[in-house]
Amino acid sequence: MAVSEPTAPDAVASAAASEADVRLDGVTKRFGEMLAVDDLTLSIQRGHFYALLGPSGCGKTTTLRMIGGFEDPTGGRVYLGGEDVTDRPSHRRDVNTVFQSYALFPHLSVERNVAFGLERRKIGRAEVRRRVGEMLELVQLGPLAKRKPAQLSGGQQQRVALARALVNRPRALLLDEPLGALDLRLRRQLQIELKRIQQEVGITFVHVTHDQEEAMTMADTIVVMNRGRVEQAGTAEQLYELPRTAFVASFLGQSNLIDARVGAADGARTPVETHDGARLQVPSDRVGALAGEQASVGVRPEKMSLLTPEGIAPDGANVLRGRVVVASFLGVSVQYLVTTAGGEELTVIAQNEAGCAPDAFAVGREVQLCWDPRHTFVVARGADE
């Protein structure tokens, strides 16, 4: 009998797993001379948690506002569940927004705020009350139902905003930096809670943030945006381990990037020669279209390890030489800044195994930097860095 129940999660999931809930097709937005979003194509799958991640001014909020219907695209189409809604005003779109400043109605109680959307849709009073009650329980605000927004803390207001949007069971929930105004501890706590709620209700979340850690904590798929374009989309793991652009490499976590020329593939490994003549290896399947090109070769700081100049690197490892400039003891790890022969300052993060910053790698010491070629990546030379 589960099939006849329209909201049975399995039925919904299987019927629509392949269908995109939100689709942007070549969407462009100009504000006067300023190009905010540039020919953006994006497909957001049902039931997933998406994060639009990027620095301020990258077009992520504008993108969200075009999905919500608050901005008209200059070009391109917006689809919700396969339906073209580009010309439809926001009050006739089946999405709801959690605004950055919450935008709670100050003259209405928590309960009436949450009921606002349902009341507009001519849902029976008993049904409204039931759903509002349920939703307030979900966000743990039941006892505060009669309060006015001004009588709530920032975290509580945030939850009211979430409940007010979610109670309508929208096709997608749009979140515009909803945690931006909260202090760090509360933000951490609410990140987890948001993720829990999303899993519980199974609604597509599109979350705009400039905080990479927030995106990595919550999102199934992170869409990194820069200058109105999508730099790369994927899971946190994919983006971190194999960034495709210099921007992603340095925006999502730290990266060491060195200018280099990519050689021709030699089996599973492709040789790369840095600008100062050091020879490194990259897995061939990570080179893509950059074979034979001038590019940047990169590696994450925690993938590198330090050796004394006499130390013997493991067989086949990538090795660079340099001199320690800074050694910072951070407790969990020790962070080194090493200047290479070619002049780059590379960051190395080493596990704190000795219980102190080892003397062999003290400031001024010559060292070898080595890492497994599997962790090496190449990206087109970034104009940004």
């Binding site: 608050f70 005003p89 709801n96 605004f99 935008a103 100050p106 507009r120 007010r164 309508n168």
Partner: protein
């Protein structure tokens, strides 16, 4: 000891800040008010002078004789206030949301009439509403005024004058309450399936209630006591209670009746405000203002 005296001095501090206003209120409001209360209970006549008795009958005589003017005052003031609200709301809305860089200039235009004296502005309306004026002619053309009918010296003229003179007092508080409204609330409303009309009804208007209340009081209260418009644009058949008070004080020198009339008007207005506040929801009012 010193801790106590310090706390004592601290608790005194707010009173020091209030002192100028308090002294002002006592000297120029409370004392004259009690003086007039006393006068209203005197009896005698202008030639022999007045002396204190407990002449409450003055109040009953005043109501009996002048209830027509009382009711007319309330009626004219109420109609003018409603007209002002209807004109001012769209104007204030435009100023707050749409005027852009013209806003300050347009606000200046709203208060511009204050640069000209009240009486002079009202005299100007004598010319506008003149029997042979353009406005009267046009209204005769379209039949809103009969062929030999007048515009001047009618209640329409008096109400028009009052509405004109008090319009800025409605526009400014409305503008303030709309201007400080968070525009994103309207986005939130449309996000929650409200059309623009519904968003206006469910969000903009409730949040403008403090402005509506303040503007209505600022129009209605002085309009109730007004006598200039009735004197210049009306005849004795349009006289309001202000005209009666004025003539009692300055022409007939019947001070007790003039004072009694003033107190009755004050009482009527206070009752009116209390009812009005109740209708708009005083609790909402306080919270929306907070």
């Amino acid at each position: 000891m010193s801790a106590i005296s310090l706390r004592w001095r601290r608790s005194l501090l707010p009173w020091w800040f209030m002192a100028p206003a308090l002294i002002w209120l006592i000297v120029f409001f409370a004392v004259p008010l009690f003086n007039q209360l006393n006068v209203s209970l005197m009896s005698g006549n202008a030639d022999a002078g007045y002396h204190s008795t407990w002449a409450f009958h003055t109040y009953w005589d005043a109501i009996r004789t002048y209830h027509v003017q009382f009711l007319r005052s309330l009626e004219y003031a109420a109609i003018a206030t409603v007209i002002d609200l209807i004109i001012a709301f769209p104007l204030a809305y435009f100023l707050a949301f749409r005027a852009g860089r013209w806003r300050n200039f347009l606000l200046l235009l709203v208060i511009m009439p204050f640069f000209v004296s009240y009486v002079l502005r009202t005299v100007a309306w004598q010319l506008i509403l003149n029997d042979n004026g353009w406005v009267a002619d046009r209204l005769r053309d379209i039949g809103l005024v009969s062929q030999h009918g007048r515009l001047l010296a009618t209640s329409t003229a008096v109400i028009t004058g009052i509405a004109y003179n008090f319009l800025p007092f409605m526009v400014l508080p409305l503008y303030v309450s709309l201007e400080r409204m968070d525009r994103r609330l309207l986005e939130a409303a449309t996000d929650l399936y409200a059309s623009r009309v519904t968003a206006f009804r469910k969000v903009t208007v409730p949040l403008a209630i403090p402005g509506i209340f303040a503007g209505s009081l600022l129009c209605f209260i002085p309009a109730c006591g007004d006598y200039v418009n009735a004197a210049l644009l009306g005849t004795s058949r349009q006289y309001m209670i202000g005209n009666v008070v004025q003539s009692k004080y300055l022409d007939v020198l019947d001070y007790p009746t003039a004072a009694a009339l003033s107190f009755i008007l004050m009482l009527l207005i206070l009752v009116g405000i209390a009812l009005y506040g109740r209708v708009l929801g005083s609790r909402n009012l306080m919270e929306a203002a907070a």
